[in-house]
Amino acid sequence: MPPSTPSKAEAHAEHPSGDPRFKMVDRTIKKFNGERDALLEVLNTAQEVFGYLSEDLMIYVSQQLHVPLARVFGVATFYHMFTFKPLGEHTCIVCLGTACYVKQSNEIMAALEQEFGLKAGQTTADGKLSISSARCLGSCGLAPVLVVDGQVVGRETPGGAIQRARTLAGKDVAEVAA
């Protein structure tokens, strides 16, 4: 997800770090009155606005919520939706849930992995495209399903998926792959 642009009011009162995205994290902390129990909510916001959880970001959350860093790290690594490396400019998620699996979504994944020389969860060297897998996105009626930059694409084929991903990645990657 791209970092959200802060509204004018927020940009006005600048965050000490100089990075307005921290304001969004602060806002969630404030919404929950700084309660430690809100750790998961705060991390969800942090992941959403920054795109991933850097070590500095986790230290920041730990200090703001007065929660040991070990607990922040423990919670962050427990849940699948948190990532610790920046994602590519574009993302392509292949659903590997049961309904998609029965309709050969694993072949789509294999085709994409081969095309770009990546494994699920990796990003191309130029940072253009990340490929990852998901366990059921709840669109089983349309299986097999891809999520390309947040848009659900149903009834996909390996060929179609490669075509889409190539377009996203721009020709740089296509050349590398060739």
Binding site: E41, N44, T98, G138, C140, G141
Partner: protein, 570 residues
């Protein structure tokens, strides 16, 4: 807000409906949007504007209409006409609907029907052309969906009764469809004991999969001591291949909310949490909106319906962990911890969220509450089988002609679901197995297709009712491969707290990999089976205890496939 206000809102809604003689409902569920529902709706809006019909035609976004594989779906409600359903809509076909059906419908000069002639044509500013008399242009007839197809007629809708018929983002629409009357009844006419007794008498059982009697659970929490109590709705639908909860949350969020508020009253809780899977942003958005409008109408907050009962609801969003569907893990997650389960007892009814007595039910369970209070326990108990009452929602997917979301009475057979509702297997292939319960369930083979769908019968077959995933496989699927698929899922999702699950799932997966690669021996199958029993008996929570189910059930019914892999390597 008092109960009379509900009636006033309903009247206002009906008046507004009367002004628009026509409503077009556009399915805006994830599946239909992904199939191009947005473009179809835009085409409809443009065409309505082009013909100047904005004042007559109301375009409404709704939740899921069910038949996801034929999306995007639309429904046309015109006064004095039966509803029309459309499939696979595009901007062009939506345009055609307006040109060929709506324009003649609103056009004066059409021969009046008998009833209209009697009162005199001048009473009708726009004489209607009956929709059935309109000759459709080429192409549009292909988009009409017969409503007498078994997919619709074999269903029985209680929880999904409003799904696809109301705008989930407008509380007024929900109220106009009978919403919040059950809450009004509970608060103003019934004691908490009576509410619990009613739910118990209905025979409703937990829809999350385990099937614990709901009324009994409510009574446990009601009788538990504590200065504060909590109500939780479990919307952490992690089972791959299932999307019932998502659809319900997206299509009719207020029914869940109303069920939770009633539960809060019945057990004496003041605070509720709705725990929703992080992968469901649309559901989160609609639930947030539902909660905001319920507060605004005074249906949440202090002194609801002028009584002394106050209730608050908050949303908690998961971050991707299957184990959080387990109740103790879910509560840990609500508390902002790692979502690991703990030993039971003590059960949440005694010691739950922040050590307070806690009622935790699946969102579909809450979705049943309003109907039970409105229609009565006896009515509900009249549906289904002796031990399984009411209906169950299934996400019907896999190798079927019609995939989508269905709600069926308990006791319906798998054969009816697969061959009548689902329309059979495409491509001339053979039915092989129906998988229920996801990674905690099992595969049911063709010889058991006539089994009635209820908690006990499915369990006896080595599967479970589960939360409602129903994946149909044809003869192209390899069952050991399916077992391996689910085991890989459990390896990923095991939280790591207890050894049998953490280590056992990995070992079982390795054995399955060896066997499916054609390198297994007969002894490996024996080892696999022993390991299954061990993990089943000794794991801490439901995830580990049920992780072997897909292996055991495929070993039970499709042993020959394992044997062939061992003997011939394929």
């Amino acid at each position: 807000m008092n109960p009379a206000d509900l009636t006033a809102i309903t009247h206002r809604e009906q008046e507004a409906r009367g002004r628009h003689r026509c409503r077009v409902l556009c399915c805006s569920s994830t599946a239909c949007l992904a199939s191009g529902g947005g473009a179809a709706k835009d085409g409809l809006t443009r065409a309505v504007k082009l013909h100047g019909l904005e004042k007559n035609v109301q375009i409404v976004n709704t939740g899921c209409m069910g038949l996801c594989s034929l999306g995007p779906m639309m429904r046309l409600e015109a006064q004095g006409e039966p509803d029309t359903l459309y499939q696979r809509m595009t901007a062009d076909s939506a345009h055609q609907v307006v040109d060929e059906q709506l324009v003649p419908y609103f056009q004066p000069g059409h021969t009046p029907t008998e009833a209209e002639s009697e009162v005199g044509a001048h009473d009708f500013p726009h004489l209607r052309a009956s929709l059935s008399q309109v000759r459709l242009g080429r192409g549009l007839d292909e988009h009409l969906l017969p409503q007498d197809m078994p997919f619709f007629t074999r269903q029985k809708k209680i929880v999904l009764a409003r799904a696809g018929l109301i705008d989930p983002e407008r509380i007024e629409d929900y109220i106009a469809h009978g919403g919040y009357t059950a809450l009004a009844k509970a608060l103003t006419q019934l004691t908490p004991e009576q509410v619990c007794a009613e739910i118990q008498a209905s025979g409703l059982r937990g829809r999350g999969g385990a099937g614990y009697p709901t009324g009994l659970k409510w009574n446990h929490v009601r009788k538990a001591d504590g200065p504060r109590k909590f109500v939780i709705a479990n919307g952490d639908e992690g089972d791959p291949g299932a999307y019932m909860d998502r659809t319900l949350m997206e299509a009719d969020p207020h029914s869940i909310l109303e069920g939770m508020i009633i539960a809060g009253y019945a057990v004496g809780a003041q605070h509720g949490y709705l725990y929703v899977r992080g992968e469901y942003p649309v559901a989160v958005k609609r639930l947030e909106k539902a909660i905001r409008s319920a507060y605004r109408q005074g249906l949440l907050g202090d002194d609801i319906f002028g009584t002394a009962f106050s209730f608050e609801v908050d949303i908690r969003i998961g971050a991707g962990a299957f184990v959080c569907g387990e109740e103790t893990a879910l509560m840990a997650s609500v508390e902002g911890q790692r979502g690991t389960p703990r030993m039971r007892p003590p059960y949440p009814a005694q010691n739950g969220l922040w050590n307070a007595p806690t009622l935790i039910n699946n969102v579909e369970t809450y979705g049943n509450i309003t109907a039970i209070l409105n229609e009565g326990a006896a009515w509900f108990a009249g549906i289904g089988t002796e031990k399984s009452k009411g209906t169950k929602i299934f996400a019907l997917t896999g190798k079927l002609n019609h995939t989508g979301l269905i709600e069926v009475p308990m006791g319906i057979t798998l054969r009816e679901i697969v061959f009548e509702i689902g329309g059979g297997i495409p491509g001339g292939r053979q039915f092989k197995a129906a998988q229920t319960g996801g990674p905690s369930g099992g595969c049911i083979p063709a010889e058991h297709l006539d089994t009635p769908v209820d908690y006990e019968s499915l369990k006896a077959l080595g599967s479970i009712m589960g939360s409602g995933g129903l994946v149909v496989m044809d003869d192209a699927s390899s069952m050991p491969d399916v077992a391996k698929f689910f085991m890989e899922f459990c390896v990923d999702e095991s939280c790591g707290k207890c050894v049998p699950c953490r280590v056992g799932t990995v070992q079982m997966h390795r054995l399955l990999e060896k066997v499916t690669a054609g390198q297994g021996q007969a002894a490996d199958l024996q080892k696999l089976e022993n390991l299954c029993r061990l993990v089943q008996r000794t794991s801490l929570c439901g995830l580990g205890q049920s992780a072997p189910n897909p292996v055991l059930s495929t070993l039970r019914y499709f042993r020959h496939e394992y044997d062939a892999l061992v003997a011939n390597g394929r």
